[in-house]
Amino acid sequence: MQKVYSKIDAIQGNVITVTASGVRYGDLATVNSSHGTSLAEVIRLNGTNVSMQVFTGGRGISTGDEVRFLGHSMKISFSDNLLGRIFDGSGRPRDNGPTLEENLIEIGGPSVNPARRVIPRNMIRTGIPMIDVFNTLVESQKLPIFSVSGEPYNDLLSRIAMQAEVDMIILAGIGLKYDDYLTFREQLEEGGAMARTIFFVHTASDPIVESLLVPDVSLAVAERFALKGKRVLVLLTDMTNFADSMKEIAITMEQVPSNRGYPGDLYSQLAARYEKAVDFEGAGSITILGATTMPGDDVTHPVPDNTGYITEGQYYLRNGRIEPFGSLSRLKQLVNDKTRKDHRAIMDGMIRLYAAYKESLEKKSMGFRMGEWDNKLLKYGEAFERTMMDLSVNIPLEEALDKGWEILADCFDANETGLKSELLREFWPKKEGQRQESA
């Protein structure tokens, strides 16, 4: 069935309606207007009224434009040729490379049978101490970065993309500023990670309907690579833009809004994407890191709130640093007992002391007298922030743990740290003089 219709009955926002028959829900169509050809997807059938969202937007479409139904739903080409390439939300090249049309796969496929899932067990090393030591990222985890506009969450993502020990990266840009897109590309090219990366980028100036496709396209491709044994890291930035696009379409379609204008199925829609994170037994895996900007730094806003219920923890990015409090990788307990035996102790101990430092800092700012212990804590807190929390540090976990011991030894006596004596005997650094002797 490839039928052409040349009368559009209604154009409202990005949604057009034609009278047609034999059309199936989710089918694609092309719309030929004087501005070029665009894809459109069927989002509602009502008798012979077929409503479609037009990927390039409704602007400039004439009621006399030609609509041609393709008889299949959205598909994307899948092969190794995708690696190193940049595409837009509907799979068209953005990098002047050839258009890929072989081996088309469906997007937004069924979800994984829970009975076939396994308990996550592998750590993903990123070289960033705040992640590796304190909130370890685990293969098949889904984790958002909660942040606010202006924070360097994209820099953090590109750093992770370059440093993470995975087989490949899929970067899904949703409503990215053009500058941010160029920065991503530049950083990955300079970092030499481009060859193992695929970009699906929707920039802020692109039509919003395409932004809705970006996560599905990216995750469909990721799923295929994972089934072929690849460990894939998918970076979604920014999921708040995705939710906002959904809101826009929902309102255009006159759906009853539920909370602050978002559609009632916001949770299910977000979950359908994040739940694609999986570890296929005997094959590869998908790990998802998403950026979620919180409008007004409000974690109870529907987007971060619903996201928090779906994901397995969250990183808070504030003032250019991953906050040690509030940030949580819920799966870290599954892996950090197998790294090095002091890992958990350092993780808990350093955070506990950092919390004490924050209290001292507060007391200081209120004008209370600082005792000897307070001064030690102040020194410690400062060193901790400088060495561990700096996101530009790139060191392996073991080195980061050693650094942790160094900082502790620098600021405290061994018995003040509250760490187990057994670990102290093994890991507590020898004094400066002794070290030189042994060297």
Binding site: V299, N306, F368
Partner: protein, 590 residues
């Protein structure tokens, strides 16, 4: 399948509009036929010859004109031996079997029988030819795990029947005919060991519903002592994300002193279900010595699975629970989370373009929630035995705000409220139940006066704490400071519980009563401290000892030794007893 045929005239998300040419009923199951697949759907609205169906699968590819078939039956589950230790989706499809057939993904349109058709069960008849029976009477039993599974007269057979034939003791599958019943008009029904029951109708074949009162022990101190739950009761656990709702549910599913636990993982993360799926077969149930899986059924409709089936999943869970209740068993249903179920209703209501209520939830939200929780209860069966269904639902309020409609509608109908707080979980105080906000209408393991006294210390300690944040430690009187320390002490040693400690993870009622008595002696004592530093040191030391005491084997040597040390330390500084607590001390004395 009935004669009625329909064809699709509209598709909107997971709702299809269908034009029908015959009779259909509300909540009837229909199938949308696309190609060689039939997608299960349920009728949710009828207007003239047009009906709306919610489809339990992805609707992509459905077109106008596609045929629709109707089954004539309501959405039902299959009941019979072999339900225990199964893992089902919201429509009672066995997921492991589905995985064997379809691999990693949940293929749509594949429906498998809920009960294994080839397993043989040893049937022992309990009636003889000529006996008269009515609905829910036991015809025979089969052993299922540690239970005697009663094979009953199907609950919808409303007449009085005479047993016309019954097989002798032997091994049969659920499809083999075991009994023939004849009604007064001479109609004969041939029965197997399985039958179906519509999920949205409560099973009411019991003599009478009783008042709840007997405690359902969870082995969590804060719950059993302060906010207890009764067998046949209801409770809810609302909490913001990350506060530990699911962990609470998991711990309860392990330790609760009930016969059977039915877990409805409704619209939550798949990862959490996986933990239960993989761990339960390895864990031993201390009550029976068998694996926990043998007393568990998991209904698993996680967040990325089709939304309409999510709505069905809580009903599937409670129906299975009612079925086992009919065998005189105590069943606990844990629904995680009921908010996702309410959201599924909201999505559907939106598609039906109903006039929305608060936060766009449908206006019937409250009555539906009430109807669900009211399916709990303690009942006396016709043979005199008692059975119960207890329902614990977690609630995920938007933004962690308990004022939202689902939490409020739930609070109206439950008997206990276990509110989780972000503040406590951030401070790593687990279980993160807020001891001051939470409440229960059920009787607990410790006398009410005593718990009220302990709670008042906690309340006053909290007030002092708030005040101290403003005026500093210096501006607080010693008496107030001691109350603050007592409150903190009680929080640390009684309310918080270490789920990873092999002993502390599950505390028997006997032990709870005992250590509550010991703690009361500390809370009710007046102390003669010189200053705040001394008080702080005193309580720090006491706390350390008490935590070790909590971790020691019940009634073992360490336990007794530590208890003596604690009492000695208290005695060393004690200057008197709060006169309000004198009577209470008599009742809690260990």
């Amino acid at each position: 399948m009935t004669e009625t045929r329909g064809k699709v005239v509209g598709v909107n998300g997971n709702m299809v509009s269908v034009e029908v040419d015959g009779n259909i009923s509300l909540n009837e199951v229909g199938y949308v036929v696309i190609g060689d697949k039939k997608l299960k759907a349920e009728v949710i609205r009828i207007r003239g010859n047009r009906a709306e169906l919610q489809v339990f699968e992805m609707t992509r590819g459905i077109g106008v004109g596609d045929p629709v078939e109707f089954s004539g039956e309501l959405l039902a589950v299959e009941l019979g031996p072999g339900l225990l230790s199964m893992i089902y989706d919201g429509l009672q499809n066995p997921l492991p079997e589905l995985a064997e057939q379809c691999g990693f993904f949940l293929e749509r349109g594949v429906y498998l029988p809920a009960l294994n058709r080839t397993t043989k069960w040893t049937f022992t008849p309990k009636v003889e030819v000529g006996d008269t029976v009515t609905a829910a009477d036991t015809l025979g039993t089969v052993p299922e795990g540690i239970f005697d599974h009663r094979i009953m007269v199907p609950f919808d057979m409303t007449e009085t029947y005479t047993v016309k034939s019954i097989v002798s003791k032997g091994d049969y599958t659920v499809e083999d005919q075991v009994v023939e019943l004849e009604d007064s008009k001479g109609n004969v029904s041939q029965l197997t060991m399985k039958f179906e029951w519509p999920v949205k109708r409560a099973i009411s074949n019991y003599e009478e519903r009783l008042k709840t009162g007997e405690q359902m022990v969870t082995k969590l101190r804060i719950v059993d002592t302060f906010i207890p739950v009764s067998l046949g009761g209801t409770y809810c656990i609302p909490g913001p994300f990350g506060a530990g709702k699911t962990v609470m549910q998991q711990i309860t599913s392990r330790n609760a002193e009930v016969d059977i636990v039915i877990i409805a993982a409704c619209g939550e993360r798949a990862g959490e279900v996986v933990e239960t799926l993989r761990e339960f077969p390895e864990l031993t149930d201390p009550r029976t010595g068998r694996t926990l899986m043998e007393r568990t059924v998991i209904i698993c409709n996680t967040s990325s699975m089709p939304v309409a089936a999510r709505e069905a999943s809580v009903y599937t869970a409670v129906t299975l629970a009612e079925y086992y209740r009919q065998m005189g068993l105590h069943v606990l249903v844990l629904a995680d989370s009921t908010s996702r179920w309410a959201q599924a209703m909201r999505e559907m209501s939106g598609r039906l373009e109903e006039i929305p209520g608060e936060e766009a939830f449908p206006a019937y939200l409250e009555s539906v929630i009430a109807g669900f929780y009211e399916r709990s209860g303690l009942v006396r069966l016709k043979d005199g035995t008692k059975g119960s269904v207890t329902i614990g639902g977690s609630v995920s309020p938007a933004g962690g705000n308990f004022e939202e409609p689902v939490t409020q509608a739930t609070l109206k109908v439950v008997g206990a409220f276990h509110g989780l707080s972000r503040e406590r979980s951030d401070a790593r105080k687990y279980p993160a139940i807020d001891p001051l906000d939470s409440w229960s209408k059920y009787p607990g393991s410790v006398d009410k006066d005593a718990t009220e006294y302990a709670r008042s210390i906690l309340f006053r300690g909290n007030e002092v704490d708030q005040m101290m944040k403003v005026v500093g430690e210096e501006g607080t009187s010693l008496d107030d400071y001691v109350i603050y320390q007592k409150g903190e002490f009680m929080d640390a040693v009684y309310l918080q519980q270490n789920a990873f400690d092999p002993v502390d993870a599950a505390v028997s009622v006997e032990r709870q009563q005992h250590i509550f008595g010991v703690m009361m002696q500390i809370l009710a004592s007046e102390f003669g401290f010189e200053g705040k530093d001394e008080a702080r040191m005193f309580f720090n030391e006491l706390r350390q000892k008490f935590i070790d005491y909590n971790g020691s084997e019940w009634d073992g040597d360490d336990f007794k030794k530590l208890e003596q040390e604690i009492l000695d330390q208290v005695e060393s500084k004690k200057s008197g007893v709060d006169r309000l607590a004198v009577d209470i001390l008599e009742t809690t004395k260990a």
